[in-house]
C-alpha cells in the first residue's frame, strides 16, 4: 500500500506560510459569497430538505430509475452504456472514439473521468485529450491534478499561471493579468474546439423521466465541446440520476449558489439527443459506488452534487490545500468517500477533520459529513488499520476519560506543573501535537470548576 499520509503532505503546503494564508482567504471569500446567496432565498432550508429527500428517494429506487433513464434515453436515439469500474469506463470511451476514428478530443470538467484516469488512458492510445475548463487546462498544462472540484487551480497564483502559459502557449512572461491570460486561453482553446472530432463532458443531473442529461458550466466549454463535434460522450456516476425534470428546479437553485454564490451558472444545458447527424453516448459508471447503499453510516455520501461548499468552509482544507488529500476529491466529502472505498490507503483522511461540523451545515443536500468522518475513525480502529501510535494514545485517552476522578486530578496536576517545565521537556518527539503548535497558557481553573462555582452562586 502507498505511503500516502495527509499530515505529511499538508506539512509541505503549510511550509509556505504566506501562501497558506492566501489560500485560506481565497476560499473563505467564496464561502462568504455562498452565505450571501443562500440568505437571499427565504426558502433555502426547505430547498435543502427537498434536495436531500429527492436524492434519498432516488437512491432507494436507483435500479428502477436507471432502467427508466436508459429506456427513455434510447427512445431519443442516445446510446447508453454501463461500466462496472473505471477500467471498463475507459475501454468503452476508447472503443467509441476508435469506431469514429477520433484523434482529438475536447473534454469539459468531469471529476468522474479524473477518478477513472481517462486522460492518460486515452493519451497512451494516441488520442489527444484537451481539458477545456480554464482551471483544468491550467493544471493539465502543469501536469498536476485539480486541487478543488469547482476551482481546480485555486492553489495557484496568477504569476504561476503566467509562467505556465508563457512556457506552453507563448504568452508574455511578465503579464499576469487574469483578463489577458484568460483571453489567451480562449484563443488557444477555440482552435482545439474547432479541430476536435469528439467532445466528452461530465453530467450534473440525468433525468429518468425525460432520458436526457443536464450539464452546468460558467465558461460554456462543455457546451462548445458538445455542440461543435458530431460526437458527444457524456460520462456519469450512477448517483447522478434524478426522477423528474421538475426536480431540477431544486438543484439548479442550490448548486451554483452553494458553489460560488452565483444565482445560477451561465449555462445550464439540457441534452436530449445528439446534434444533427451526430451521435450521443452516455456511459453510466458504478466504480465502487453501490457499496455505499449498503451502509447505514455512509449511504448519504452518494447524494453529493459536487458543489464544493464543504471544501470552501473546511478550516483544514483551506489550510492544507487540495493536493494534500491525494484523493480525486479533496475536503470533507472526499475524505469520507476515500476512507470508505479504500480505508487502507486513505486511513489518515478522517483524522484530518476538526469535527467542527461546518461542512454539514453548508451542504445543500444535508450530508452528515462530520458524523461520517467521526464514524470512520472508529471503523478504522476496529479494523486495526490506524497506526500503533494513534491507537495506543486513543486507548489511553479512553481509559483515562472513563475515570473522571483520576482525569480531574491529572488535569489539575498538569495545569500546575506544565508551566514550570522547561520547553525541551514539553516539546519532545512523543508530543506530535506540539510539533507546530505552542501549548496554550494553562488556566487557573478548569471549566468544570468554574461551572460548579457559578452553579453554586445561582
Amino acid at each position: 500500500m502507498s505511503l500516502y499520509n495527509h499530515p505529511l503532505k499538508a506539512k509541505e503546503f503549510v511550509r509556505n506560510d504566506e501562501r497558506m494564508h492566501w489560500h485560506d482567504k481565497a476560499l473563505w471569500f467564496v464561502r462568504e459569497k455562498r452565505d450571501l446567496a443562500s440568505k437571499s432565498i427565504p426558502e433555502w432550508e426547505k430547498l435543502r430538505t427537498y434536495a436531500a429527500q429527492i436524492k434519498s428517494h432516488t437512491m432507494a429506487n436507483l435500479d428502477k430509475y436507471l432502467l427508466e433513464f436508459e429506456a427513455n434515453a434510447k427512445k431519443r436515439g442516445i446510446k447508453v452504456h454501463f461500466a462496472k469500474d473505471a477500467k471498463e469506463h475507459n475501454e468503452i470511451v476508447y472503443k467509441i472514439l476508435k469506431e469514429n476514428r477520433v484523434e482529438k478530443v475536447v473534454k469539459s470538467k468531469s471529476m468522474l473521468t479524473e477518478e477513472c484516469r481517462l486522460n492518460p488512458f486515452l493519451e497512451k492510445r494516441g488520442i489527444e485529450v484537451v481539458d477545456t475548463d480554464l482551471g483544468e487546462r491550467i493544471v493539465q498544462l502543469r501536469k498536476e491534478t485539480p486541487s478543488h472540484i469547482v476551482l481546480p487551480a485555486i492553489h495557484l497564483k496568477k504569476e504561476d499561471v503566467a509562467k505556465t502559459f508563457h512556457e506552453k502557449i507563448g504568452t508574455d512572461e511578465d503579464n499576469s493579468d487574469p483578463s489577458y491570460l484568460t483571453n489567451a486561453a480562449r484563443e488557444n482553446l477555440r482552435q482545439k474546439f474547432l479541430n476536435a472530432q469528439a467532445g466528452i463532458t461530465g453530467v450534473n443531473f440525468a433525468v429518468a423521466k425525460t432520458g436526457g442529461v443536464v450539464v452546468c458550466t460558467n465558461e460554456g466549454n462543455a457546451d462548445m465541446g458538445a455542440t461543435l463535434p458530431k460526437l458527444h460522450i457524456a460520462c456519469m456516476g450512477i448517483e447522478k440520476i434524478i426522477p423528474r425534470a421538475e426536480d431540477l428546479g431544486v438543484f439548479t437553485r442550490l448548486l451554483a449558489r452553494s458553489a460560488t454564490g452565483q444565482p445560477i451558472t451561465s449555462y445550464t444545458s439540457h441534452f436530449h439527443s445528439s446534434v444533427e447527424n451526430g451521435e450521443m453516448h452516455i456511459v453510466i459508471v458504478d466504480n465502487k459506488r453501490t457499496p455505499f447503499l449498503q451502509s447505514n453510516s455512509y449511504k448519504n455520501a452518494l447524494n453529493c452534487i459536487r458543489c464544493g461548499a464543504c471544501m470552501n468552509t473546511c478550516p483544514v482544507y483551506r489550510r492544507s490545500g487540495g493536493h494534500s488529500y491525494d484523493y480525486v476529491i479533496p475536503g470533507p466529502i472526499g475524505s469520507t468517500l476515500g476512507s470508505f472505498r479504500d480505508p487502507k490507503i486513505y486511513k489518515t483522511l478522517s483524522f484530518a477533520c476538526s469535527l467542527c461540523g461546518s461542512c454539514s451545515n453548508v451542504c445543500p443536500v444535508k450530508i452528515d459529513l462530520d458524523s461520517q468522518l467521526y464514524t470512520h475513525r472508529q471503523d478504522l480502529r476496529e479494523k486495526n488499520i490506524i497506526s500503533n501510535k494513534k491507537r495506543v494514545t486513543m486507548q489511553f485517552a479512553v481509559w483515562l476519560m472513563n475515570r473522571p476522578l483520576l482525569f480531574s486530578f491529572i488535569s489539575k496536576l498538569a495545569r500546575k506543573t506544565i508551566p514550570l517545565l522547561p520547553k525541551a521537556v514539553i516539546y519532545n518527539k512523543y508530543n506530535i501535537w506540539g510539533k507546530h503548535r505552542d501549548i496554550p497558557q494553562m488556566p487557573a481553573k478548569s471549566f468544570k470548576e468554574i461551572y460548579k462555582e457559578e452553579f453554586k452562586n445561582d
Partner: protein, 194 residues
C-alpha cells in the same frame, strides 16, 4: 452477467436507503413585486445587460449596439436583418466567425436572470456559444419568478435540446478574479420586447 446486470444487482442487494417520497413544488418558491427589476439587477451582477424596447425599435437598437461588428447572425422571428444565415450552413464549424448572434428566448427567470432558449427553428446548437456576442430577445410577458415555475413551463417531450443562459460566459479560475468572456460570448444582452 453484463455490467448492467451486475450494477443493478449490487444496487438491489441490501439497499438500506429509506424511501422518503418526492416533494411537490406547487406554488413554491420566492416571488418578486417587480420581476423585471429583479431580472435586471441579477443580469447586471453577472455581467450582462437588460433592455426594454418596442417592437419597431429592434433593428435600430441592435445595429446601434453593434455598429462595428461584421457578421450578424439571426434566427429570431423578431429580427430578420442579419447578414449571415446559420441555418443555411451544413457544417456547424462554419459559424466560427459570427460576431453577434440574435436569438429568441422562450422566457426569462427573475431570480437568476436566466433565459430558457430552445428554438425549434435553430439548426445548430453551437450558435448560442460560438458567437462573440449574444442578444436574446424575449417577449416582455414571458417572465417567471423562480426555477420551479420555469420547469413547469418546459415540456421535454418534443425538444431535443435547450439551455438556460444567464449573461455572457465567464470564469474566475485565475485567482478568483472574474473575467467576462471565457469560451462563449463576451457580452450578453437580454432585450424584453414590449
Amino acid at each position: 452477467m453484463t455490467s448492467k446486470e451486475i450494477i443493478l444487482q449490487n444496487i438491489r442487494k441490501n439497499n438500506l436507503v429509506k424511501d422518503l417520497g418526492l416533494p411537490s413544488y406547487s406554488n413554491f418558491g420566492i416571488k418578486f413585486d417587480d420581476p423585471y427589476s429583479k431580472f435586471n439587477q441579477m443580469l447586471e451582477s453577472v455581467g450582462g445587460k437588460t433592455l426594454f424596447i418596442k417592437k419597431e425599435e429592434i433593428e435600430d437598437t441592435i445595429f446601434n449596439l453593434f455598429s462595428k461588428e461584421k457578421e450578424i447572425a439571426s434566427n429570431s422571428l423578431y429580427f430578420k436583418k442579419g447578414n449571415f444565415f446559420p441555418n443555411e450552413q451544413e457544417d456547424a464549424h462554419l459559424l466560427k466567425n459570427i460576431d453577434v448572434a440574435v436569438v429568441d428566448g422562450n422566457f426569462a427567470v427573475a431570480e437568476n436572470a436566466a433565459v430558457w432558449v430552445s428554438n425549434k427553428n435553430n439548426r445548430h446548437r453551437t450558435l448560442y456559444f460560438i458567437a462573440q456576442n449574444i442578444v436574446i430577445l424575449v417577449d416582455k410577458k414571458d417572465i417567471v419568478h423562480n426555477m420551479h415555475e420555469a420547469y413547469e413551463k418546459i415540456s421535454f417531450e418534443n425538444i431535443s435540446y435547450g439551455t438556460f443562459i444567464s449573461g455572457p460566459s465567464k470564469t474566475a479560475d485565475i485567482e478568483q478574479s472574474l473575467v467576462i468572456g471565457a469560451h462563449g460570448p463576451k457580452s450578453g444582452y437580454v432585450i424584453f420586447i414590449e
